[in-house]
Symmetry: C2
């Protein structure tokens, strides 16, 4: 059996790289800048050069490398092709094929949010589970679905795009995607700020949230302090997210549901609020499905990318 | 390669049996009664005897049979075990193991709605697709999810239990499952009747639906006649179902969505109403996902059961 593999997580400003043993031990991680000039033409060659330099440095022979996995911000299909990746200035690219040509190693590619879910299912908050839903609560809401230990990428690369689940058809404001009432409008960092601003406007009630900048962190900090207005905001956020997760559980019935992304740094009080609302809405066989925090943070992407090839 | 396989669909009153070629050609089908006495102890032996009689009749040697697939009304796990099946009076049963012992053939088992989805993905309305959502609109709403050509049975056998997706948390009436606002309460035959009765009560408007028994069929018949009240009922049904399907598509992004079950006999007008509402709520990459009628009717179960073993 080959001993090593590489996991690469390509972002718009930097590329995270990991050298792993195939058992999932992270040997070393480093970053290189993302060069998005010339339609991002240098991105894959830069990654290949960095991998080859690391192999020379460590004296690792090609024969001892299982492959290179790559997570990319965009809709990668299961053959490793992408129609475009806006943040990288890429048009169509056959990522895995190009990387194989550049390195002579087996290469596979996936969407970054999906790959992060795979990483969490391998070595993170859902380690050992083969059926997982990850909801990534950041600026937007992303996610990944793992079934039988594999990413569900979907017919149009939209598998796990749970941020655009339509939870509130009567919502007057529109989502970035053009629809109205997407989960992302309620459960992302910006969505929580939006709910908080609405609550502040609708009520004259005193609140810690009137005393500084309104952010998702400020909302959860105030919630932990027992602030009544923040409590209503968190309840509303949790009702949308908990019910959405309950609906998703009727579809794929996962072993574990994970919450990741910046918003999830609010920790256990957030998990408990979501779990309470999830339980109300979930179908009986799924009511006790555990909801947990993702555990790998910014490393989930390199772990999941490595798992693509081992 | 072995030439034949059997597909068995166990219902509460009768058991449908099919002899198939492994390429999916149905050679012969027949039914036997379901004997639910003595905790349904005779059900699997009766099936085994019927299979063995058919093999003798046709001169089919055991060596030429790929196996027996069985669909059962209840939560079958991926090892072929079931904790109970109320309609069959079964307690815990290791279906596949018992059937293997009875017949000496390879046996696999699955939930009947999931197995029907597999049949439709193999030889029915979604023939050739490997990512499918089937919504079965009958007395209740069931379903099945196919990913990479395989059933998603889920951690608690609740994969594809889309009838219990919580679409309307404010719904005052309760679903059979105990929750409030399940899709089944709006999109099953009984759900449509419920919506129609509400509409008849709330409005004094004249309607064809005031002239006979209110059934799902009567609602769609009146809708096709241009009846304004039936139109509102169908729009409401379609808004719930279309939005639910759009949410499910954010999770697994299927190639095709199928509508089956008795309600789907309303045909193309139903499909068009659902497609219209689906499109409003769907995430952009999934807006053009085709919604089609299931094609195998009551035979979907035997086809899918056969596919379990070939």
């Amino acid at each position: 059996m080959k001993k090593y593999c590489f996991g690469i997580d390509v972002g718009g400003t930097s590329i995270k790289c990991g050298l792993f043993c195939v058992d999932g031990t992270l040997e070393e991680k480093w970053e290189i800048p993302t060069n998005t000039e010339n339609q991002g033409a240098a991105i894959l060659p830069d990654i290949a050069a960095s991998i080859q330099a690391k192999m020379r440095e460590k004296g690792i022979a090609k024969e001892n490398v299982a492959g290179v996995g790559i997570g990319v911000p965009g809709p990668v299909n299961k053959d490793g092709e992408i129609p475009r990746a806006v943040n990288l200035n890429w048009g169509y690219k056959h990522i895995s094929k190009e990387m194989e040509a550049l390195t002579g190693l087996v290469a596979k590619a996936g969407n970054d949010a999906n790959v992060a879910a795979l990483g969490e299912a391998w070595k993170g908050g859902a380690a050992g589970a083969s059926q997982v839903i990850l909801a990534t609560l950041g600026t937007g809401v992303g996610g990944g679905i793992i079934i039988d230990g594999k990413i569900v990428s979907g017919a149009h690369g939209a598998g796990g795009e749970i941020g655009h689940a339509n939870m509130e058809p009567e919502e007057p404001e529109s989502c970035n995607c053009g629809n109205h009432g997407c989960l992302e409008q309620m459960a992302s960092a910006t969505g929580i700020v939006r709910l908080a601003r609405q609550a502040l406007k609708e009520s004259g009630q005193d609140s810690l949230l009137r005393k500084g900048e309104v952010s998702a962190k400020a909302v959860f900090d105030a919630y932990k302090e027992g602030d009544a207005l923040a409590d209503r905001v968190v309840e509303r956020f949790a009702a949308y997210l908990g019910r959405a997760l309950a609906i998703f559980a009727c579809v794929v019935d996962p072993e574990v549901i994970l919450l990741g992304g910046g918003v999830s740094r609010a920790g256990e009080p957030l998990v408990q609020a979501v779990q309470r609302e999830y339980k109300k809405a979930a179908f009986s066989p799924c009511k006790d499905t555990p909801i947990k925090l993702a555990a790998l943070g910014n490393d989930a992407g390199i772990y999941g990318a490595a798992k693509l090839v081992c």
